[in-house]
């Protein structure tokens, strides 16, 4: 990151400290801006205000004990975090979840993707000054959280999956709830789009703002919707299918310019695709066991594994080293928010203060995941 030089300032330049307490830095991100009038001459993200040492905690917990901790990283997409961790440990153990468990995991993870995108949409619109969409988004997100609650009792940090499969069988009416949500949701997305997609002010505020071209995006390691909006068709669900994604048909939306508007369009379309996956999956959930036979005490053979999934915000990877004991020797997380945030300085340079909040919103960061 470019460090902002605070001692050498031009005659018209000021330093503005945005955050860690600021309404639109999405938690405790601190951005130091060097401003020339309202134009950003340089910026520096300062992170670490939410550091909890999650990776270090892993070294002192058994494999199962650590699973709830990963929910607290990206707390608005806890199900996806859990899926990545469980699959990584399963890979380390050399086992696989049974088909039924994998399909249920897929459904819940896709619902979680919709929920995460809804939260992004609402807050992003709020940052740009549209006060109303956030309430509509939360209304629909609530339906998803209700499904989670009925399934595992928790709404936010769900700990929905277990290593080797699922702890709980789906509840009666799970399929109907999911179907009802998906069927209603199609109209709801149209509703959001009515408010925003062709709105002149919205287009003006997002088109051409925070442009990230494909080469830069790849060089910075950016993944997820941000990368796809820059025109790179890269989605781990297709590239290296996990869970049950190889069984379903869905498209990977991409755009060309890589500006804030494109990222908005990509995420809106992703919600539609997630809905499509859910509808396909819920039609045909295989019967059978929901848990692989892995025993109560997990002792993976010594070795290391890297497993990554397509979380709502991008590639979420777990690198786990086992020394043959019941506790991991090292767990390293590759959080999408953290890597995507690297692109901020590049996007923000030369834009206006108003664009800075749009750009923070469009990267879709969760500080719990950035700082861990």
């Amino acid at each position: 990151m470019d460090s902002v030089n605070t001692t050498v300032l031009g005659a018209d330049e000021i330093i503005l400290n945005m955050g860690p307490q600021h309404p639109s830095t999405h938690g405790v991100l601190r951005v130091k801006l060097k401003l020339d009038g309202e134009r950003v001459a340089g910026s520096e993200c300062i992170i670490g205000y939410l550091h909890r040492g999650v990776e270090k905690i892993a070294e002192h917990r058994s494999y199962q004990q650590f699973a709830p901790y990963v929910d607290r990283m990206d707390y608005v997409a806890a199900v996806s975090n859990g899926l990545g961790y469980c699959e990584a440990v399963e890979k380390l153990l050399g086992t696989e979840a049974p088909p039924r468990a994998r399909v249920v995991r897929t459904i819940l993870t896709e619902l979680q993707r919709i929920a995460s995108h809804l939260l992004w949409l609402g807050t992003h619109a709020l940052d740009i000054g549209a006060l109303t969409p956030v309430f509509y988004c939360f209304r629909e997100r609530e339906e998803i959280l209700k499904i989670f609650e009925k399934y595992c009792g928790a709404r936010l940090t769900t700990h929905a999956f277990r290593i080797g499969g699922l702890q709980y069988e789906t509840y009666d009416g799970f399929e109907e709830d999911t179907k009802r949500f998906c069927n209603d949701f199609s109209k709801k997305i149209d509703e959001y789009e009515t408010l925003l997609t062709e709105n002149r002010i919205w287009v003006g505020r997002t088109k051409g703002v925070g442009i990230l071209n494909a080469a830069d995006a790849i060089a910075l390691g950016v993944t997820g919707p941000v990368l796809r909006a820059s025109g790179v068709k890269w989605d781990l669900r297709k590239a290296q299918p996990y869970a049950a994604y190889d069984q379903y048909e869905f498209d990977i939306p991409t755009r060309e310019t890589g500006d804030t508007y494109d990222r908005y369009v990509v995420r809106m379309e992703e919600m539609r695709q997630s809905r499509r996956i859910c509808l396909q999956a819920v039609e045909n959930i295989p019967t059978g066991p929901i848990m692989a036979r892995i025993g109560k005490v997990l002792k993976p053979p010594p070795g290391e594994v890297y497993h990554s999934i397509e979380a709502p915000k991008g590639e979420l990877g777990y690198y786990i080293v086992s020394d043959g004991t019941t506790q991991p020797y090292r767990v390293r997380v590759r959080p999408p928010s953290f890597i995507n945030l690297q692109a901020f300085d590049k996007m923000a340079k030369g834009s206006l203060i108003a664009d800075v909040v749009a750009i923070i919103g469009t990267i879709d960061i969760v500080l719990g995941e950035v700082d861990r």
Binding site: T132, F135, I201, A354
Partner: protein, 431 residues
């Protein structure tokens, strides 16, 4: 004793306006809640009816903080400037034919001059706070006001050409004489004034001086407690002012809608439309009475019943005015229609606020200078041409305005096409 009545009016305005502002805030929160699929304030009083009073008490009791490095005198002085100017502007506003503190022959100019002085409060406050956010908010506010006051002023000129007077009373009288509200005869003037007045009062989508997601609270960032509430009061008082100007100039002031419709209630000399205000308020009262039983707590029942009683009293007054002498009747009903139009205008403000995202600063300036001001100029010329047509060739007042309005529409479309929605953020470095 010519001074008694104006002094009474002035005291009433100073006493009532803060309360009115509080209830506009409640209205705003309720409208917002309605549009956002939720309930809004429900706890303090039935349906949150006592919320403004609770808020006012809270603000008065809050600790008064002045930042360490602030310019104390200016910090103290700035909110007073804002609120004083906002209140002063009411002196020339005609709320109904009878209710006006001073009928100045330059009434409109006076209101514009005084209310634009309020910007000093914002700029001084932003500067005195000694905070970057405040300073940026103040600078934005100054630039925005200068740009949009020009456009709004030009929009008002089109009405002045038609009315031929600056006195608020004469402008309304002119609309009565010509038989049409100027909002219909110069729709573009009305549109430009609507946009300009939103920008002048710093309301969304032009609320950049206090853009909360960017500048925390803009020029008010360092203010708290009572000083903050003064700014708040000034903002809502200004909303009522611009709504009052728009009502007077474009929406016929206190004139009753359907002024030419004189159908009478059989057997009486009362017109149906004159009975409408009383019936409406009575309807509200009945609705309140039906809600009384649903209130969960006894005290809420009592408050709801009081509100219903108040509505009944208003209804009785409005009905009583029907049999009173014509001057009294016009005074009371004029005030009713005036306030109804003011609130409709404010409702439009709120509606716009909850629908649109916020403009960016450069876009705001572009909209002002490249679209609104040229359009306002063309509009003024158009009205001028219409007046010439009327005087030289004796065209009717409506007919003469049709071709010029159409021409203005063409120019507006041309300008809108030119003002491409695609942002030029990366190419405006030279500005």
């Amino acid at each position: 004793m010519p001074f008694v009545l104006p002094v009474v009016y002035a005291v009433v305005i100073v006493a009532v306006l803060p309360l009115l502002a509080g209830y506009i805030v409640l209205m705003e929160r309720k409208v917002m809640a309605d549009m956002q699929a939720r309930l809004g304030p429900m706890r303090v009083g039935p349906h949150g009816l006592l919320q403004p009073i609770a808020d006012a008490v809270k603000l008065l009791l809050k600790e008064d903080i002045i930042p360490d490095k602030a310019d104390r005198l200016m910090f103290w002085f700035a909110p007073l400037v804002s609120v004083t100017m906002a209140l002063l502007a009411y002196s020339a506003l005609a709320i109904g034919p009878a209710f006006q503190i001073a009928d100045l022959n330059i009434g409109l100019l006076f209101i514009l001059a005084v209310s634009s002085l309020g910007i000093y409060g914002i700029v001084l406050g932003g500067w005195a706070s000694n905070s970057h956010y405040s300073l940026l908010g103040a600078l934005r506010s100054a630039a925005q006001l200068v740009s949009y006051e020009t456009a709004a002023g030009l929009a008002l000129i089109s009405v002045l050409l038609l009315a031929g007077s600056l006195s608020m009373k004469d402008i309304v009288q002119a609309q009565s004489d010509q038989g049409v509200w100027f909002g219909f005869s110069v729709p573009f003037g009305f549109f430009i004034y609507l946009v300009g007045s939103i920008a002048e009062t710093n309301r969304a989508p032009f609320d950049l001086p206090e853009a909360e997601s960017e500048l925390v609270a803009g020029y008010m960032t360092e203010y708290s407690g009572f000083r903050w509430s003064l700014y708040f009061l000034a903002e809502y008082a200004n909303m009522v002012i611009v709504a009052g100007i728009a009502t007077t100039l474009f929406l016929g002031g206190w004139l009753r809608p359907g002024a030419r419709y004189h159908e009478q209630i059989p057997g009486t000399s009362i017109e149906w439309l004159d009975a409408l205000p009383a019936l409406l308020t009575l309807g509200v009262a009945l609705y309140c009475i039906s809600l009384v039983r649903k209130q969960p707590v006894k005290i809420q029942k009592i408050v709801m019943a009081l509100v219903a009683g108040l509505c009944v009293v208003v209804a009785v007054v409005l009905a009583g005015a029907l049999v009173a002498p014509p001057a009294v009747m016009q005074g009371i009903h004029g005030a009713f229609w005036f306030m109804a139009k003011v609130f409709a205008y404010i409702y439009a403000f709120l509606w716009i606020r909850f629908t649109f995202p916020r403009y960016r600063f450069d876009q705001l300036m572009r909209l002002g200078w490249r679209f609104l001001i040229p359009l306002a100029l063309v509009n003024v010329i158009g009205v001028g041409v219409a007046i010439v047509l009327r005087q030289q060739w004796a065209w009717g007042p409506i007919v003469s305005l049709i071709p010029t309005t159409l021409a203005t529409l063409g120019v507006a479309m041309l300008l809108a096409k030119d003002d491409a929605p695609v942002s030029e953020a990366q190419t405006t470095d030279g500005e």
